[in-house]
Symmetry: C2
Subunit: 436 residues, 2 copies
Amino acid sequence: MEQPVINIGIMGVGNIGTGVARILLTERELLASRSGIRFNLKTVVDTDWERDRGVDFTGVKMGTDAAEIINDPGIDIVIETIGGYEPAFTYVMQALANGKHVITANKALLATRGRELFSQARAHGVDILFEASVGGGIPVIMGLREGLVANRILGIYGIVNGTSNYILSRMHQDNMDFAEALREAQAKGFAEADPTLDINGVDAAHKLAILASLAFGGLVNFDRIPVEGITGVTPLDINYAKSFGYVIKLLAICRFIGGKADLRVHPTLVPEEHLLAAVNNELNAVFITGDLVGNTMFYGPGAGQDPTASAVVSDIVDLARNMLARPRGECFSCLSMDPEKDVPLLPLDEVTNRFYLRLYTLDQPGILARISGVLGENKISISSVVQLETHGEKDFVPIVLLTHEAPEHALNKALMQLREFAFIRPDILRLRLFHA
Amino acid sequence: MEQPVINIGIMGVGNIGTGVARILLTERELLASRSGIRFNLKTVVDTDWERDRGVDFTGVKMGTDAAEIINDPGIDIVIETIGGYEPAFTYVMQALANGKHVITANKALLATRGRELFSQARAHGVDILFEASVGGGIPVIMGLREGLVANRILGIYGIVNGTSNYILSRMHQDNMDFAEALREAQAKGFAEADPTLDINGVDAAHKLAILASLAFGGLVNFDRIPVEGITGVTPLDINYAKSFGYVIKLLAICRFIGGKADLRVHPTLVPEEHLLAAVNNELNAVFITGDLVGNTMFYGPGAGQDPTASAVVSDIVDLARNMLARPRGECFSCLSMDPEKDVPLLPLDEVTNRFYLRLYTLDQPGILARISGVLGENKISISSVVQLETHGEKDFVPIVLLTHEAPEHALNKALMQLREFAFIRPDILRLRLFHA
């Protein structure tokens, strides 16, 4: 039977783009036999062709100007592996305007400019796929959108930043401090030279915005997601959490409550018997609860050339099927990322949580009574408290406590009151406990 | 935009069929908004309409004869939720011959009659989808076939039988014996009244045949898969394994070595730090290693009305997209389940493994030397051995040992020799250790 041919252009032949090109060039036959479609890498564009990428580009047009792809009527699918905001955004908007389908791994772009991108795609009857934007090689976007298509999504709990997970894992398993674990992550290639967006939670929030959008079928206003990173977590917290039976993980959380989305990224105490607690080092996992399926989890590598390229190529095959299904042009992905629908957010203040509080106080009598008094006034009850015996330290000593469920606004008020006490150091750490 | 309409018939409105009908009838709008396609449940057929299924079938034709679906030219997709071999097989073959696409959760049928089914589908240009046949609600078939489409699959390690996993979990966590754990599984609805196919490994082997077929792109000769169930595992084995740092799980294993498939189902000692060791109770998980993606895992409920129906409905949506993509008729699933391709099997004898051996011996001096002598003659070296001090028992006492890697044929020979010793009871238990 004659196989349809799909022509592809790659903009940005860096780490991921090179991986995609290599698969398309070396696995032509495998992909054709599995999909019934032939994929032809027609053009690759990058500003630098000095560097040897270890790929034989024979038969592929190698250009330096994105217009060679964007304006080529012979190209069906454009792969954006430039990264960052510009010029990636402009190029993608132009490609969509020219009737080309786009595949991207660019979570920052999708999370912050999604509305413009999907509006443009819908207006021009083309598609945007983005499997590699969350969870690297894990087919979690497909799992959520297609595998769980019959489900109303109740909750998503993602370990979606490999750098943070690596650091927290090393702190937990080997008693490292944050700086030491970060240096090791950098040495092993699991953290960038500038790890800011990884350790401050923003990268995880980008991915959360994408997952929550898919789960709801609209778009999230990224700027309104509350985000806390892992920089405040110390070995002392890791060890106290461990003694209570918890592992600290940076979670991207999406829960739907009364039609609104409770979205947030923060370090979370996960019970050690929960499957998410067993997801270690640089690996990622997304735990999804659906009304029909119950609890599922998708696990795997969240980054790296080959895993990420594997996800991009799965998008290519999927998109090619859509193209053959809708030759008249329709934005299939706009059905689940509707640019005209806002995901309504539940303000964090209205959410209830269980909390972990770590305070440094002067070693004086009656202090625990004062602290529990403040919490009690705010109707927050304590479930566990640990204040180890000290030996006449003149300096501040730690008190750690876990609360029962309490509203965020009540805890915020209590924290303000606690910070006014001269015997409490102002650097109180507040973490949250996992709840489904 | 006008939405295409797909007409559906369900043969067999039992537990799963009822779940599928309920979703199609109550989530029409959700499915249409997510897929751009309208799904119309036209006909349901069952032999018994006395029983109240808690579903309002208004507007749906309710019949007692499968021909009302099979011979209705207005029906596009036939869902087979009858189960078992006959009449399910005959009905599916007829439906395919009449140009209807088929969705089934019937792993026994797929594993044993796959060649006839997919040949029929190919001959008539229609498709067979079967997401619910492995891992219940977990989208692992889609993940393997589409999400990992760019990967050569290196290994699959599945906990795919909920009954066995429940029993082993209870034995591990609560020191129950097999019979007690089985009774509890039956009481909680995680085991059938007749659990034979679950505890003897055959159900897991059915699922393994499907996964291995997809991974290779051909069909597995089911009868040639070596299968061991969990009935020989005792609390003593669970506890010895635990003391060595392992959890015993019934694994369905597929490894590709030199172009051949090493397929088997057996209880396996999984290191307690491996993610599969954390998959407990009735839950399922499939751990898949691809050449590009590395290690991934798909986790969730392996059975139950709603999870299984969720998977069937994801097939309906997926299939509808294929139908629109290939209006001229093509068996898309035949690309990955090619009925003309055999999956070449590696005989178990040629595989090497690490082994757990549990022997009951008389409490006499020199016995360990005799046992290690036999193993040594067969070039099998021991990595750990435990023989607890006994207190003059006249009866047999256990010796447990772990070996290093050794060929299966060498171990079989050693076992034969050991069984000849009068001081060893013939019921030697041989388990295998997990290796990637």
